[in-house]
Symmetry: D2
């Protein structure tokens, strides 16, 4: 058996960082060697520094790991095979670019740089072929590369749209979201704000959905991604749910299906390109499942489908008003929408020979 | 000063019943004389029989009132000026029709009969002129009449649509709702279902929004209401919020405004026909308010605007994708969406001389 | 390998029933053969009749099982090795007694009969020796027997008290509980009651804690259990938590430990009699764990310790005011406090040769 | 009519600050002239700087007030009659001492200095006579004075203990609390921590209850307060409730009442010294009410009793185990437990001639 790849996590104490640590601490291909944090926590043991809030527990050894201060040169010097970034947006861009310049291969969950033409924005079952954009980054003078995890809500949406777009050509997407509090990070949503309440605003989220979804579902032509032709309009809200983003989606289609059952079949049979056959450990059996019960999907019951990597679709109906379908979709925001997808992207890039 | 009207509440221990009791126990025009309940509770004092859960407290005298068993003949014999029905759907229709036949004037929150052509479905600031449909009911051989309170979500929606429809002609409405648990009644949503969760299905709700909104915004021509010409498509969900239904609304318009500010002005300046000038005690100062803060409306902060009778609109923006506006609206589901609206309807019908 | 025992669940669609079904559908010793329900659901497939709300999913085959109507003679005729009862209190007593009379061996979660002198009230790590009380039941003319699962809060409490009582002799227990909504069953706590609220009353709960704990920790002398000598005083409350009962416990001790660390060691080293060595599949590695973090145990983080069968103790301190220790304890109410304990009891009784 | 007193709030954007602002913006005696904040918010209008989360809305004029940077000399120069401090603990002590030195009269909600012998810790209905401790502060060389608002949980507890202590002599108090999230301030409890959870630890809270309650219920002898002779042992927890601290209290009494009804009468008849007769605007009609319903008090239903200034007692019973009574008490943590009490203290001190 070949040796495991050596990996590290940047921003290890945050909420997405916790999910990365949990998944990487017991990964068949990756060996989690180092945890990096902000300077004020560096030197502490992980177990002392982290306020663990997620339901998934890592292997015990990580509690004793010393947090390292994040200095790009030192990270580069370690020669990790892949580095996972769960850095906050305001610091991510500079650090990640510097790392890539120094030869580090970075899979990043942070939002900056997602729309850069030569940086792949990956949702593997949807657009694995975009991965080879990383080859273009050498033109920037980078010896490493950066690959981006999409915005959480967008990752979930595009997985459900992909089979419909392939079969019926999406014309317009109107979507309202009900997003979990973990989407805002460990301290993003105070309980004094969200108990018995919801907040109809998430900074930047609607714009991300409207632009990132077109890139992810776009077509790679030579060295550039031509965005998908449909338009997206979104209203995003925060609700008092821990994990699992729910989206009410109205999809106008060029050539709508004859029945809702037909659309359900198309969704259920979607295998997600060739991902499955590549044998990636984090790829779920089915990227999309269709729930037939009238009151599903529900965050608490469906967010862990496919170990959190599957998107559940329900209430799928033809919509005569818009000439398409309407449905409710649900995915785990810090797994499929963040760390889980990041790990899958790393698996893909490794399998494709980029690490 | 004239004598107060004698009124009664049917279904007084339920959640909408509680709100009726709270509001009617201290009403300037109405004297709450009798509380009716299902037979198994009849004979108990109200304070013993009710599990009070709402934040509004009635005058103390109601706690000592004896609940009466609901027998239509006996209700009719009492000669109340107006009877408010908060009966469950499965029994409402038969009882209310029998009461009307026997000469009782009924303002009802129950869903059956709402789409009957000769029964007005009233949201007073929107369609007070529909009130005179009650005159047609004598053709059924009824000596009394029935007026209906719209579905909660629809009452809130149509109030926000009315000024936009008058000014810009609504073409299509795409709406996703996030509805409070009180909308399902006292025991409708178990806590084991909704904590850390949401449920993307509310039986019958989407159909009600799609049909009732067109009747409410329809035009009275002679003796019939011609439904408004636009189409509505809805996805409705239940969220862990106590009171206040939130709706993410995408409105396609025939002649869209030039700016969002213009649309905001149209909403803010909407006075709601002549309601205000009639001096109805429950009519709010402003039926619609526009919140400019980026993260409003929120259920906990805005549901009691206008004593629960005002709809708050926020995040109002032009939407180039649909050629109209998008916005988030919020109203109190058991006040504007049920009992509060019922009281306002009764005030209107009284003022118009129907009681 | 010997054949599996044939078992059935009574009251299979309720919340404790769901947990029984989940655990028994994949049990190494037991074969779940039949699901019984109230007459109105009988004939339906389990998947149609149940509103699944728990986080643990059963093996798929159970969804297709037809629910059977609960008739004692028919249950008896089936010859099950063990029958698990999750019946509601108001019907449990008659049915269970009739079953025992007819030769059925019943492990019951229902509260009636728990304090009967010849019916064992079992928390296996605490009082496995009480199991042989079932032998006395033949004197009632029963050919089968009944063994009882303790009240949820009491099962959790007695597990934490046992090691302290053995070592330091408990004199008095003052306890306040914060109990999860699932403790009241699927529909026991309406969301309209518990969101942004708590209810400081649970019918019968305090009395159960005060009496059952003394029986469980009592000493079997010949054919009767002499209750433990200490007194318990309790205040019980319901809080908006899904699963996991938390208890703030002040324990006065005859011979208190010198340090809190000493008490922690006593708790940690408690193995629970000989249960472990019997190889019972549901017995946790450690019945009690001690969390050293200042803010643990927490329901969401600790309720699934030991697959839900372990009680977590935290904030353990000497209490100079009462001359003993104070601590916070937490256990999973529908696992250790109900179905999980029921399965463990069945394993114990089988191993001891009573089935 | 005399002129209103000129008052200011320090720490105006925090959660207790919001409550001070709401109550002082419409106070009959006080004129809210200035709002102070941390330097980074100074200069902003209050409406821009504050994230309003409480249910009570201030008069509209406050939204336009400019926040001032908190510099003790400048505050002193303004010559306010009373200054209310809602400063965080880590800065409060230095600022308040400096203010008092410079001649400012400070009513402070911050915890430092509460146990200083010459600083009164006031719960007016309980220990109004302690107010004259402020006279001693001139010995420190202060030209102003400091009076302290007790810890929230302790203020609620001592109000319910006072009548029992007067009548039956309290011997020992064993208490477990279930505290609302607002008790930790606006951002104190992340939603990722508390949804479907509780946290059995609140830093410093138990110590405060154990020491402050004895000072508040102590006896002023000459120039010093002799602490009450009883002992308090507490376990404090945080629960997912917005407002309202609930406490399960076991009170051992020297001379217990014969019946629970007798104790109830003693609580109900407690008027709180002479406070009522002084005509203080914030003094509630009844400082303590006794709820007879079996499931009260509940935070959502009872926290606003007496405009948030009344403590509700329920489930009052004789407790043979401890030789006293047990009960559940509830009070509004940011009103009676913080800002509301602060305003009442200021009213008292003014009436007594200290401002």
């Amino acid at each position: 058996m070949p040796e495991k790849l050596r990996v590290a996590v940047l921003g290890a104490t945050g909420l997405v960082g916790q999910r990365f640590v949990a998944r990487l601490s017991r990964h068949p291909w990756f060996d989690l060697e180092a945890l990096y944090s902000s300077p004020e926590k560096a030197g502490l043991r992980y177990g002392e520094a982290v306020q663990w809030v997620i339901d998934e527990h890592p292997e015990d050894y990580v509690w004793g790991e010393r947090l390292r201060p994040l200095k790009p040169e030192e990270v580069a010097r370690e020669g990790f095979d892949i580095v996972f970034s769960a850095l906050p947006s305001n610091v991510a861009s500079d650090v990640e670019v510097e790392l890539a310049r120094l030869g580090v291969k970075v899979v990043s969950n942070a939002s900056p740089l997602r729309m850069e033409p030569d940086i792949p924005l990956l949702n593997p079952e949807v657009n694995a072929d975009h991965a080879r954009l990383v080859e273009l980054q050498s033109k920037r003078g980078w010896r490493g590369w950066i690959a981006k995890v999409p915005n959480c809500t967008t990752a979930i949406l595009t997985l459900a749209l992909k089979p419909l777009h392939d079969e019926y050509r999406v014309k317009r997407v109107t979507v309202a979201t009900m997003q979990a509090v973990t989407g805002a990070g460990l301290r993003g949503v105070p309980s004094t704000v969200i108990i018995d309440n919801l907040v109809p605003f998430i900074p930047g989220e609607e714009e991300k959905m409207e632009t990132e979804s077109r890139k992810i579902l776009g077509t790679l032509r030579g060295t550039r991604v031509e965005p998908a032709g449909f338009k997206v309009t979104a209203i995003t809200t925060r609700v008092p749910v821990l994990d699992g983003h729910t989206e009410a989606v109205f999809v106008e289609l060029e050539e709508p299906p004859a029945t809702a059952d037909e659309a359900a079949r198309v969704l259920e049979e979607f295998k997600g390109n060739r991902i499955k056959s590549l044998g990636l450990p984090s790829a779920p059996e089915k990227p999309v499942i269709v729930r037939k019960e009238v009151d599903r999907p529900q965050p608490r019951l469906d967010r862990l489908a496919g170990n959190g990597m599957t998107v559940a679709v329900g209430r799928l109906r033809l919509d005569p008003v818009t000439g398409g379908v309407k449905m409710v979709i649900l995915g785990h925001n810090t797994i499929r929408g963040a760390a889980g997808n990041g790990v899958l992207i790393a698996e893909l890039l490794h399998k494709l020979g980029y690490s």
